[in-house]
Amino acid sequence: MTMPVLETRVRQALFASRRWHPAEIVFWCLAFAAFLLFPRNLLLLNEIAILALFALSLDLILGYAGIVSLGHAAFLGMGAYAAGLLAKHVTADPFAGLLAGMGAAGLLGLVTSPLVLRGTDLTRLMITLGVALILYELANSFSTLTGGADGLQGIMMAPVLGLFDFDIFGRTAYLYSLSVLFLLFLIARRVVHSPFGLSLRAIRDNPLRAAASGVPNDRRLAAVYTLAAAYAGAAGALLAQTTQFVSLDVLDFHRSADLMLVLIIGGAGYLYGGLIGAIAFKLLQDLIASFTPQYWMFWIGLFLVLFVLGGREMIHGAVKAAAARFARLGKGAAR
């Protein structure tokens, strides 16, 4: 096989995987239609969209690059505080806040990536956890800046694009969050189906072999870690802007742990896993909590145990079967 032929083949394969499948289009149409279908639950939908973006961020590093993290809340919190502080002291424009949140979290990701890339999975778990804990304590200690345990009060957001005010029903909030999620999803989709994305998967599956074939492992991992951090920062910024409030809770350990659960439910390594997991997790939580405000944690715990023991295969199996069918369809079209 000569080089040009191989290159064409690779290009074709990448192209095929990049093609939109009808199911994906339906998924996003439904997401936007939810605005009209569930006008009573827009606040919950907004939370789902934000959690989905946060999960998407973890999927980028865990599912595609194989970096485990128990401290992803560090970036969520960084984004939330950056956006909140910007809105409070500089400008109330939502997009400026979003960029500030992404920038701050991305910078943090870039700075901490050399630490994270050192060592194996266990080391990474400890380091990411440590970084998040340090940030939590910093936010708690600098209470003049962050409001400490009382939270960052008095954030007032300007209307989105100068037109749409954040209303009490969460209409603007949901459409804003969903649009940002969609946009960032498009970018993530492009990234993972690019040669860069392929090289990440090569590193995940076999770092030695990837390095031997000339992939600069550390630089690639640092790049995707920074990108994921910026995504988590965007989720944090959305959270701060749509609730117009930031509390220490955004940096808490349970945020990182919940996020792992979301990815376990939805499945890692295909971008929709985080989104599906976020929908399932939030709906379940909301449903059980409205039945029993006092004991909902017990039921959700029981459900998760059962799910991980057996049920997980059901969702993943269904998704895999569907994906296989899509792939076949895609191939058929390509020929």
């Binding site: 009573r40 639950n41 606040l43 919950l44 939370e47 708690n140 209470s143 400490g148 345990a149 009382d150 939270g151 009060q153 009490i168 029903f169 969460g170 959270l239 609730t243 117009q244 409030f245 509390s247 809770d249 955004v250 909590a289 409205s290 405000p293 006092q294 909902w296 944690m297």
Partner: protein, 391 residues
Amino acid sequence: MTVRRTLLGGMLGLALAASTSGFALAQEAVKIGLILPMTGPFASTGKQIDAAVKLFLAREGATHGGRKLEVILKDDAGNADATRRLAQELVVNDKVSVLAGFGLTPLAMATAQIATQAKVPEIVMAAATASITEASPYIVRTSFTLPQASEPMAHWAAKNGVKKVFTVVTDYGPGIDAETSFANTFKEAGGTVESVRIPLRNPDFAPFLQRVSEAKPDALFVFVPSGVGAQFMKQFIERGLDKAGVKLIGTGDVVDDDILEGMGDVALGAITTHHYSAAHDSPANKAFVEAFQKANPGMRPNFMAVGGYDGMKLIAKALDATKGDASGDKLIAAMKGASWESVRGPVKIDPDTRDIIQNIYVRKTQKLGSELHNVEFETIKDVKDPVKARK
């Protein structure tokens, strides 16, 4: 045909008459969204208030001002983002007329904007930072404020020969309130004060108490949130501070009635100032405590329960006054200046600040029969929140 048409017309007319006469309106329930930490580290607060709200409906009836009260309980796990979303959902979806509960200061603060935007009264039944009522003109409080309870403690300590005090408070709104108001008042009275703050989550008191024992003060002033007192007491004794002659003083939060019995004798002799003790000597309180314990075996009502009970009382009184009109502005107007005889003593809602005016009692923890209680021995009448009173 004509007969049927007339019949139909008549029925339609009747239906219309019934719906416009206000008969249907009067029957419609007034919904109260009760948001409490029912899980997580502050669940004890939620359980006390929830029990008290149920007790109120059982004892004083659910119909007030001609309208039935319907309580919708939600759990925020002590998490401010959740409180805010739940409040928003309760207002938008369930169309509640009143928001109530709020176990911690950040939770009450996070909801203030919603109360203002939706013009819905926010009844703070627990959170106790002085500035909360300033966050929205729709906030009314039935618990207490930390300065309200701390300043009398400073006066008492200065009068009773205490010269040097070390304060230990939890590092968040109410704790900082307690520290500053105690320290300022005590310094004015000629004493000296040293202070440390401990983190809100997962507190370990040992290193802080070590500093206290090195400083050798006459007294240790303490504030910790409801439910954390037992842990503090244990470490206070373990460090031998009681034997070193350090008097334990504070607001009543540390010797919380809910967990006092579980602390055992270590709490004996603590001097605290607060607005409620389950041992408060009045027939109304005796009946309240008895009814509470009958409905909730093994639980003793604490100041959180009383805040919840009086919160419901205030809503009921306001509805009586507006004759069932549950619009936010009317309710708030009716709540301003409302006064009644609570189980803690006479209380009044300050019409200027929407904060509560009440007696503060100086109490000593001692044994009544076999049970530990905070026994009141001095009363300071009609205390306003001193922070806002000075403005």
